[in-house]
Symmetry: C2
Subunit: 810 residues, 2 copies
């Protein structure tokens, strides 16, 4: 069993995918409704597929170029195999596939949800959540399956040949990083493209339809309405699917890389062995991910309501129950897995502090911190964006004095919300690091992401319900149908906001884990911002998320303007359109969004990918590290700011639907204050659905690009590289007998006064072209006084080896 | 001469202050206009003085508490004298005085400018710019005078007694930092308080007056109109004066501190001597500042126009000419001062790279980089905020589809504008550091700030002209008077935006110089963000400017809402107010702004000052460094974003006054697009006048607080401290003869093959309670192979001294 544990996540992911197929055929068997409903649903599906296909064609070109560059890198660097190329391509394909599965089921589930809503709300929830479940399991199943299979394959390729365990495993993981890079690259384009698409259509449809023509949302007379509904699918479903697929893979990968360092650090003190082919710490994250799939499946059974008259709070409670069941099951499983798979105590190296002895339970507590902070950040997000809470009510009150004060209040809410989120996040870094180093940080992120299948099911059911409402409206179904889908949609808005809080927290922790992996890969001595070049790049990195957001916002603005002109033109030129006798040209609006999204996603995508490469090659490894940190810090702020401001504006607008009390007066839809709130919501749309959610991918992708090019940066920007970095700690007693000691043993001997003289020898080797350099540090402790001696040997590899051997025998 | 060079800046600052008095009496002698005009001018002056007095009362409490805390710190730390307390208090008083002088002359110059505009535009420019000059010279003169006198006094107190030059000078400068801290603290409150005041009044007056009642700006029937004009003075004049006073002092101080490190590094290689009492590098920045005052005075004579029919461009040209004359004169003087006051070559220590030999010309080039980058950033700012340029036209075009698209476009412009500004800024850090280390960075900032007197004259003339327009409007003067003041006002808007670009660039460079001084003061080994606590604090620091901005925005929103309610009430309740027969209760509006500003400035002010203290005490010196870096990176982004978005919105709105072409149609004031643009401008108001400009002070003050508490953080957060940190480099030849060599000499000997064996000994001492620790590093180079040996001695001071002596004789 223990030897073959890698087959466990494979089996669990297959179970997940099988359950997905069962669920999918169940959804497909539901009644798709009248012909009109099917027609609308089909139009949405076709529009969405047309966009995805056009997008994939464009991304194919990108992938081929990127693959060629990766191949080039792999020929230059020993620790990277050419197999990174197929890994990259498969990552890209899997990511696209995950988005595609989700999008297809979502467009099939919409009319079926509307039809189910005719009979009852519980049934409508069952269908829409069923659609979400298909998507969630598709994403999680493919991620775990892809990662495990490639890992298994690369193990067979690179392990067991010559060289030591750590170096070979580094090649395995560096190659596996290609899979993650492929997934994350596609995710970026899908997120940005989808985000631009959906908001261009939404803003365009609202500005002319709701504001100028005064017709309701999703009215079939509005030419942009199909584009709007297509947008929900390509943005909120396909984009989000690719995004979470990328996050999930990156998180697990980062934890695996750091697991390898744990093994290395322990091997240096003492040979590391365990029952899991000596790679328990590497396998742990992927096994947890597999178990998370199973827990999510069990959780889905708890999502149901009985009462047809249920309100938002009951639907929310059903979702929460399912979510917590999945989380708690995962946590319990993690406890036993950690106990089983990790050594009881581990020697971990803490930067600047040396080795510490860490109990495996610390890793469990780090995972708990991850979950707790994730949950708390979600609560903070919910507070800042929920109906009836103070921040949203503030915006509502400020709407009474016009759009300007509404906007100022909304911006302030978004900015304020960074306070608690960032403090919590900083506490998570600090706490999980203190417990178990960067491996702890990575496990905290992994724990957050373990129930991705469930998270995504909850996230994806929102857009399905939203679309179902659209189908109901456009098919003139009875009002109670729309009322029921509106309940689901409203819950979906909250879960979407909360999901974003969770996503940014996990993305940031993952980015930090990748950052840690980067520093160790490059073999640099930390990232010191007291160096001017590192500091300069910290500023440049800080600027990137801002400019990226600007690009996304501007793209939405541009595309929305085109959409507005087109809708105005159709209202003007097509006779009988407002009376419902003329048919709007829906396809033209779909076309505008598609073209704009494809065109506008290229520049921000390339900015993200190319900038770190340029900085790495010109300035070297440490400044690139500064750049990464800048992107992370600034990206986290702008993500929280934009997501929460957008969510708060949206719900401030929604508040008017039921009526709100402003300065003692009840105010409703159609009032001036409501119009001001609509303006705020429109500003918030690109914030929360285009630029805000892209920040996650931006920060992760930046760190992944750094990680992939890390091996060529060893020589500080030149083409030189440091391909072996080993450190050894041995202890030599007074008589010259050499013993390898764990820190604990050394401490015990110290305490017992047994070692009067001890020596620690650390060797750091790096290769620059033909020249090998070994830096040897010898720490001698005698009578409590420590002397450190450093020797540097340069020469050919053989010469240096000889010197080292001589030194050891000295 | 050379011995007494410190008297040169004193003399020059006195010249500046005398010229200020002459100019002031000239302005006061001008005709103040009709009784009505004098009444209005007096009301504005009284409102402004009432606010300032209330503000000072509040700040007195703050200053007393802060002074007590500083006294406490000074008793705990040897390198800080209790004299930091009077320095702090004088800094605070001088800062308040500088704001007060400016505010008084500005409120006197407004009616005189309006009266002068009756006869001619050139005369109006002369009066308003004369007012600005008084303010500029007052600020610069007081800054240089205060700094020089305190420096001279502290020299007499602390130098020449026991101890070495460097340690004593550290005490001098650490105590002098109190002056800067006082100035910057008051500046923060003045900036934030003034910013909230002015925008609450402005937004309130506009929302009800312009938008709801449809009466023009500055209409005497608007109850908030006096408050609005008072706001221009307390925000744009007094606030800005205190701000620039603080910047100026901080910049010069930072350069002096880094000059001290230059001297230390050189003393270690070789005894440092020069003709300036061995402190040329410390005195240089203050002498340059003094010369900058003279250059500014000369520059003011070039600011004049001849033609009564002049347009904006000619007025702008006159100001530009004066500005460039001042800059070029300063640059020429700097060239000779640098050649004269600095050694021809200097040995500077570069972090992580060791010693480098630097020509004094490098310092000059660093100053040139500072000026060039400052000018370029100003140009970038002008591009993003000027009438008729693409970014502003983008916003204009987007106004045609409503307020929402206008806001999206404006936000995007602000975000985009970070791109070139940050790249230029990063280049400035990189370039000036490469040329002359952090001393180069500090000199670059000093060069930017040297012509502060001129900068401020140009900045301050805008609000004076703006107020003159208000006086003209409220006194029913003939339209051509308002037209003339409008020309001046419009130029003032551009210079204000450009000045803000310059201010943030210089503030950021100053912050970096302070940051460098901080790292050296604390004796930590750089700021490594690969440590989890440092990284966590980097995130916390990044959050502070965002939350600070949120507080400022929300305060404006809250105060503006109160103002709106009050104005609405007066319109409703005072009979005949709209017909001009009833008199509005101006004082009530002034009161609302005053109370709101005072109440709301406290929290952001305390957040800025207390957070770094808490972090330093809990987490220690290195995490506090991470926090500082986070504040700087995030602060720079948010400053540029907010300032430029606000400026662009303002001018997009102004574009409609002359009419603009949108989609082939001429669009004017009063159109829907114009109304959308007014909304954008209202959102931009707190951006560009409250939160945006506060960022400068936030980042500088954060670094100053860090610098002042640096000595108590030496023991990494404990109360222990490291009060001596000396490093020595000596070179010992084969026969054991000890020689002190400069790097250059060592290199020459190396090249000639003269030193086969050389030793470098570095000693680092720190004191923690009674225990003195000496870390000794000995680098021996023999046959090209280097061996490093480190020894650590612990014990009482005498014991350690004995060990060191023994080692030296070994």
């Amino acid at each position: 069993m223990e030897q073959n544990i890698i087959y466990v996540p494979i089996a669990l992911s297959v179970v997940g995918l099988l359950f997905m197929l069962v669920k999918r055929s169940w959804v497909q068997k539901q009644n798709p409704g009248s012909e009109r409903m099917q027609f609308i649903s089909k139009s949405i599906k076709e529009g969405a597929l047309a966009f995805l296909n056009a997008e994939y064609r464009l991304l194919l070109i990108f992938s081929v170029i990127a693959a060629a560059l990766l191949f080039l890198v792999s020929t230059m660097v020993e620790s990277t195999s050419w197999m990174i190329v197929p890994a990259f391509l498969c990552g890209a394909i899997f990511s696209a596939l995950a988005g595609n599965i989700g999008m297809r089921i979502a467009t099939e589930a919409n009319s079926r949800t509307a039809e189910a809503a005719k009979t009852s709300l519980p049934q409508a929830l069952k269908v829409s959540f069923g659609g979400g479940t298909v998507m969630g399991l598709g994403v999680a199943g493919l991620a775990v399956l892809g990662l495990s299979l490639f890992f298994l394959f690369f193990l067979s390729q690179f392990m067991g040949t010559e060289g030591n365990f750590y170096d070979n495993m580094t090649i395995v993981l560096e190659t596996l990083a290609g899979f993650s890079l492929g997934a994350e690259s596609i995710a970026l384009f899908a997120r940005v493209g989808g985000g631009i698409y959906t908001k261009a259509a939404d803003v365009g449809a609202d500005l002319v339809g709701k504001v100028e023509a005064g017709i309701p949302e999703d009215d079939p007379r509005n030419p942009a309405t199909i584009a709007d509904n297509v947008g929900d699918n390509v943005g909120d479903v396909a984009g989000m699917g690719a995004d979470l697929f990328g996050s999930y893979v990156a998180t697990v990968l980062a934890a695996m890389v750091l697991g390898n360092y744990v093994i290395r650090d322990m091997s240096l003190a003492n040979q590391f062995t365990d029952n899991f082919n000596n790679m328990g710490p590497i396998l742990l994250p992927i096994v947890i991910a597999g178990v998370g799939i199973l827990a999510s499946i069990i959780g889905t059974f708890f999502v149901s309501i009985k009462n047809n008259e249920a309100k938002e709070s009951q639907v929310q409670k059903a979702l929460d129950t399912g979510n917590w069941v999945a989380i708690i099951l995962t946590l319990i499983a993690s406890y036993f897995l950690i106990k089983w798979m990790l050594p009881e105590t581990m020697n971990m190296k803490f930067f600047g502090e040396g080795y510490k002895e860490i109990s495996s339970m610390n890793v469990f507590w780090a995972a708990c911190i991850g979950l707790a902070v994730g949950a708390l950040i979600s609560m903070v997000t919910a507070y800042y964006t929920s109906l009836g809470k103070k921040p949203v009510m503030d915006i509502v009150t400020n709407s009474s004095t016009g759009a300007a004060t509404n906007i100022i209040a909304g911006l302030a809410v978004g900015m304020y919300s960074t306070f608690s989120s960032v403090l919590l996040f900083a506490a998570a870094i600090y706490g999980s690091y203190e417990l178990a180093g960067f491996y702890g940080v990575a496990l905290a992120a992994s724990a957050m992401m373990a129930t991705t299948a469930m998270q995504l099911a909850i996230d994806a059911f929102g857009p399905i319900a939203d679309n179902a409402g659209g189908v109901a409206e456009m098919s003139d179904l009875e009002p109670h149908v729309r009322e029921r889908t509106d309940i689901l949609d409203s819950v979906g808005n909250t879960t979407a906001a909360v999901g974003k809080g969770f996503a940014i927290a996990s993305a940031a922790l993952t980015a930090l884990a990748l950052f840690a992996a980067y520093v160790t890969f490059t073999g640099i001595d930390g990232i010191n911002i007291f160096k001017a070049d590192v500091l300069a790049m910290l500023f440049v990195g800080g600027m990137i998320p801002v400019v990226f957001s600007a690009m996304a916002m501007k793209s939405v603005g541009k595309a929305a303007m085109e959409m507005v002109q087109e809708v105005r033109r159709q209202f003007r030129e097509i006779p009988g359109i407002m009376e419902g006798t003329g048919t709007p040209e829906y396809a033209k609006c779909v076309d505008i969004s598609t073209k704009a999204a494809l065109k506008e996603m290229i520049l921000p995508g390339l900015l993200t990918i190319i900038t770190p490469i340029i900085i790495g090659l010109i300035f070297g490894a440490e400044p690139l590290g500064g750049y990464m940190a800048g992107v992370c810090v600034s990206g986290v702020m702008w993500a929280i700011f934009q997501n929460n401001a957008g969510g708060a504006w949206d719900n401030a607008k929604k508040s008017f639907e039921a009526g709100v009390m402003i300065n003692g007066e009840m105010t409703y839809k159609g009032s001036d204050a409501h119009k001001a709130a609509v303006t705020g919501d429109t500003v918030g749309d690109p914030f929360k659905d285009t630029s805000g959610p892209s920040m996650n991918i931006l920060i992760k992708l930046t760190c992944l690009v750094g990680l992939v090019i890390a091996p060529i940066l060893g020589g500080h920007g030149s083409m030189a590289h440091s391909d072996t970095t080993t450190e050894e700690i041995i202890s030599i007693d007074e008589d010259g007998n050499e013993t390898r000691l764990t820190n604990k043993q050394a401490d015990e001997m110290d305490a017992a006064g047994l070692t009067e003289v001890s020596k620690e020898v650390m060797v750091k080797m790096s290769v620059d072209g033909d020249v090998t350099t070994a830096e040897v540090t010898i720490e001698t402790t005698k009578d409590g006084e420590t002397t450190t001696e450093t020797k540097t040997f340069k020469g050919t590899e053989d010469e240096v080896e000889a010197e080292l051997k001589a030194l050891r025998n000295m």
